[in-house]
């Protein structure tokens, strides 16, 4: 198969325009089942030794070759070239969010700092057993679907929150955190990681995700970071960490829809920051005035939808049984 690989390159040492990002096209002939990585290696070996990229295992296990292929992050070694050719061209760029070192190599420092920030190691309170911990196979299989993460950074590359807010812990570090909060061996005797959940409930943590789902799509290993973040929100609330905007927002949202069948847009932000939180409420004033001036103020009197009883019935049916006091229900397998 003949294809043109269009690579976004950059060389910080160059004295000319190559110092800034530029595009270079490499025509290559590759086997029909070749991966994008095979094509890049062929370029590097036969054509252009100055092209820099990371790669090693060729089988989606080492996590080195995450990059943007036709605009979306993925592993070059897991992407069959003929599935992504568009008009004879495959476009390859370095991963996003992280700064470029050279060509397709990005600086992972911030990635690892975020991983380290979640204390990424098992913390068992109390005595270790003499033999192995006795835990269910289901619990381990569930965790293994998260520890399948190879730290390739594809999710971080495409995270729309990190793109604008570098303080966010981000999908990879939060998935790593979940690997502990969901581990029956981590935390107290019930397997509840109270300290972790407290920390993760702070700003930059689990409530800063906007649920755009990009990380789930980008992940080449099916880790689904966003789903793990949502699971930790539930764990945190059940552990009693509900005194924050995110948890209150969730409550207010649920309560409003469950009661009236629609969102009470006036009270939602008020309840989210807390009714008594005067500074935060004052911050809303300019927004409120602007909304009023443009006729977009939600009605003061919140109306139920027609046939609200039907909504309430659906709602009641989907509600879980009332949770028994916090901990015992916290871990999915606790």
């Amino acid at each position: 198969m003949d294809v043109t690989i269009r690579v976004k390159r950059q060389d910080p040492e160059a004295q000319d325009e190559r110092r800034r990002p530029y595009w270079q096209e490499y025509p290559v002939t590759i086997a029909d089942n070749a991966t994008v990585l095979d094509a890049l290696i062929q370029i590097r070996e036969d054509d252009d030794g100055t092209l820099s990229l990371r790669c090693s295992c060729r089988s989606a296990i080492c996590g080195s070759c995450a990059m943007r292929i036709n605009g979306h992050a993925g592993l070059a070694c897991k992407t069959i070239a003929n599935t992504v050719v568009q008009n004879g061209v495959i476009t390859v760029e370095p991963a996003g969010v992280m700064p470029v070192v050279k060509d397709l190599v990005v600086n992972f420092d911030m990635f690892w700092e975020k991983i380290e920030a979640v204390d990424p190691y098992l913390k068992h309170m109390g005595q270790e057993p003499e033999g192995e911990y006795i835990v269910s196979n289901d619990a381990m299989l569930h965790l293994s679907s998260v520890t399948a993460c190879i730290m390739c950074g594809a999710c971080v590359s495409d995270c729309t929150v990190l793109e604008v807010d570098p303080t966010f812990l981000g999908p990879a570090a939060l998935a790593k955190a979940y690997r502990f909060t969901a581990d029956p061996r981590d935390g107290d005797a019930e397997g509840v990681s109270m300290e972790r959940l407290w920390g993760l409930s702070e700003p930059t943590g689990i409530w800063d995700c906007t649920r755009c789902n990009e990380c789930v799509q980008a992940c080449p290993k099916g880790v689904a970071p966003m789903d793990r973040i949502m699971a930790m929100r539930e764990q945190a609330i059940q552990a009693g960490y509900d005194n924050n905007n995110g948890a209150r927002h969730t409550d207010a949202f649920t309560e409003s829809v469950g009661h009236s069948g629609r969102l009470d847009e006036l009270r939602l932000p008020i309840k989210s920051v807390g009714m008594m939180n005067l500074p935060a409420l004052m911050d809303y004033m300019p927004v409120a005035f602007r909304a009023m001036r443009r006729g977009k103020m939600p009605p003061i009197m919140h109306q139920n939808v027609e046939n609200v009883e039907a909504v309430r019935r659906i709602f009641n049916r989907t509600q879980p049984e009332p949770a028994s006091p916090q901990v015992s229900n916290n871990s999915p397998f606790g």
Partner: protein, 562 residues
């Protein structure tokens, strides 16, 4: 004057053996650092799929049974004292890893579950799906973070410094900046992995280039049993990527083009779960006899059922779909023997000490020797953890009463600068490293593979001689400093050529068939003349050969049948 970096214990390589050594040395109170040419979680320990062996007493298993299986697997070339150390320690090391957080699959009672593996009479392989190595590696990295060991990530070691007759440190290239640094150390532990990429194809990652073996060899150290190269029975057609032995451990069959389970001819008792050398030879025999298809035979998992495959073999199923377009739930996958592992390596004792004072080795780059002529599946992860820890412990102890060897840091740096500048200054018109490496890989895979003979090995030795000449003129097209992988690959190729020489010389020397070494011209094992290790050191005109006895404690060599 550049900053002088120094550490009591410096570990080169951050795979499982290296990180385990670093954590042990740090726990032992030593100022410890670890240096790796890739980030630790990119290391090739990731690729171990099937599991880790241990005989747990409370399961009714016995470490002596594990030891016997390992010794028989080694075709009696393994040192039995070292094998005893490994098999005795296995249970405790396994439980350590579980306590650190590895998510091992469990049995119905919630205890660690096992699967069967090749060459062993009972199921003692503990596992995490089919990505056990990755699971262990990431947990070890977590512990490395916790331990606070200093990490030099993406630094490539270009030289081992020996001074006053002992280890003094290393010179390394910081890949991101292109700067050279000296790191002084009282002891250096090499944990750089194998040298698989000098074969083409190989299951090994592109980073597996024999760096540590090359460093030791050039510093006058001993390599041992380098001819013992494992061809794994199930590597994927085309790319040569590994398909785990776990598939056969879970019950998969090998079939020829007509669907026959040919292993009944070669290993009527153990069938597909005979040792790897035996299965690879059987497959190659069938392929050579025309019973394969396109140079492959089939691995058939279709009878295992979707549920089992999705729980325990999920990653290799994906590899099959991604790289060969075959879903193993629905149809057999084409596989063939492929270069996978080297049993040989830097000769060490059970504490990782080499013949060079202050230099240790652990993991695949080392030869303790616990694998002898053929490694059992799932003994490699165990090897890294047990002997990585021992090397770390031993170094932490000895550095307490040692100072740093004295040497002229600036002069050492200047020498290395000159050497590298000479490479960069070469004319651009020579063959590039990739061409030389490919020709080396082809020659090794043609003549120093599953079946070998004198004529073929001689041909490869001649090839290697020519390749070394070409190597001396290999140009580096990238002249820049930032992330110059062109330069790194050119340097790695030097290590690979050294390893290739020793492998070919060892294979020529051993005029018998034992374990992975099968000489068509000497098809029998010959304990009278060859029950010894072959040691290789660097001489004027190439590797010089000597021999060492095999340590036998209580298991007398016997005929090997599966």
């Amino acid at each position: 004057m550049p900053e002088v970096l120094q550490h009591d214990v410096l570990i080169v390589g951050a795979g499982l053996a290296g990180m385990r050594a670093a954590i042990a040395a740090r726990d032992g109170g030593a100022n410890t650092a670890i240096i790796s040419k890739v980030h630790p979680v990119r290391s090739h320990s990731n690729a171990a799929q099937g599991g880790i062996n241990a005989a747990l007493l409370d399961r009714g298993d016995d470490w002596e049974d594990h030891a016997y299986d390992t010794i028989k697997g080694s075709d009696f070339l393994g040192d039995q004292d070292a094998i005893e150390v490994m098999c005795r320690q296995a249970g405790a090391s396994l439980i350590d890893m579980e306590h650190m957080g590895v998510t091992f699959n469990r049995d119905d009672e919630g205890r660690l579950g096992t699967r069967a593996f090749g060459g062993q009479r009972r199921a003692r392989t503990f596992f995490v799906g089919d990505f056990t190595g990755q699971a262990l590696l990431h947990v070890m990295f977590e512990q490395l973070i916790k331990s606070g060991v200093r990490r030099y990530e993406e630094w490539f070691v270009t030289s081992l410094i020996m001074e006053e007759g002992r280890a003094a440190g290393v010179i390394a290239l910081e890949i991101r900046t292109g700067e050279l640094h000296v790191i002084r150390a009282k002891t250096v532990i090499l944990a750089t992995g194998g040298c698989g990429r000098l074969f083409e194809p190989s299951t090994n990652a592109l980073i597996v280039t024999g760096d540590g073996m090359g460093l030791v060899y050039n510093a006058g150290g001993q390599l041992m049993d380098m001819e013992m190269v494992q061809y794994h029975p199930t590597t994927l057609a085309g790319s040569g990527v590994l398909i785990s032995e776990a598939a056969r451990g879970e019950g998969a069959y090998l079939r020829d083009k007509d669907g026959n389970r040919f292993m009944e001819k070669y290993a009527p008792n153990m069938m597909e779960l005979a040792s790897r050398d035996v299965v690879s030879r059987a497959e190659q025999t069938e392929i050579n006899a025309g019973n394969g298809v396109d140079g492959c035979v089939y691995l058939d998992c279709t009878h295992l059922g979707e549920a089992l495959i999705m729980e325990k073999l999920i990653q290799i199923r994906e590899i099959g779909i991604d790289l060969a377009g075959v879903d193993m739930i629905k149809e057999p996958i084409p596989i063939r023997p492929g270069m996978h592992y080297i049993m040989g390596g830097i000769k060490t004792d059970v504490d990782g000490l080499t013949n060079l004072p202050g230099v240790y080795a652990a993991g695949e780059c080392a030869n303790v020797s616990v694998h002898g002529g053929n490694r059992l599946g799932a003994n490699s992860l165990l090897d890294t953890i047990v002997f990585g820890e021992r090397a770390g412990n031993h170094s932490a102890n000895v550095v307490r009463s040692m100072g740093y060897a004295d040497f002229d840091v600036s002069a050492a740096l200047a020498r290395e600068h000159r050497r590298i500048q000479e490479m960069l200054d070469r004319p651009d018109n020579g063959d590039r490293w990739a061409a030389v490496r490919k020709d080396m890989g082809d020659s090794m895979n043609r003549n120093v593979a599953v079946f070998r003979n004198e004529e073929g090995i001689q041909e490869t030795l001649e090839d290697l001689h020519q390749l070394r000449r070409r190597y001396e003129n290999v140009p580096v097209h990238n002249k820049g400093k930032t992330f110059n992988t062109d330069l790194v690959f050119a340097l790695e190729l030097g290590y690979m050529l050294d390893c290739a020489d020793t492998i070919a010389v060892g294979a020529l020397e051993r005029r018998e068939s034992r374990g992975a070494q099968f000489r068509v011209d000497y098809p029998d094992r010959n304990d009278e003349e060859w029950l010894h290790h072959i040691v290789l050191t660097k001489g004027e005109g190439g590797p010089e050969i000597s021999e060492l006895p095999v340590t036998i404690t209580k298991w007398t060599p016997e005929e090997r049948k599966y």
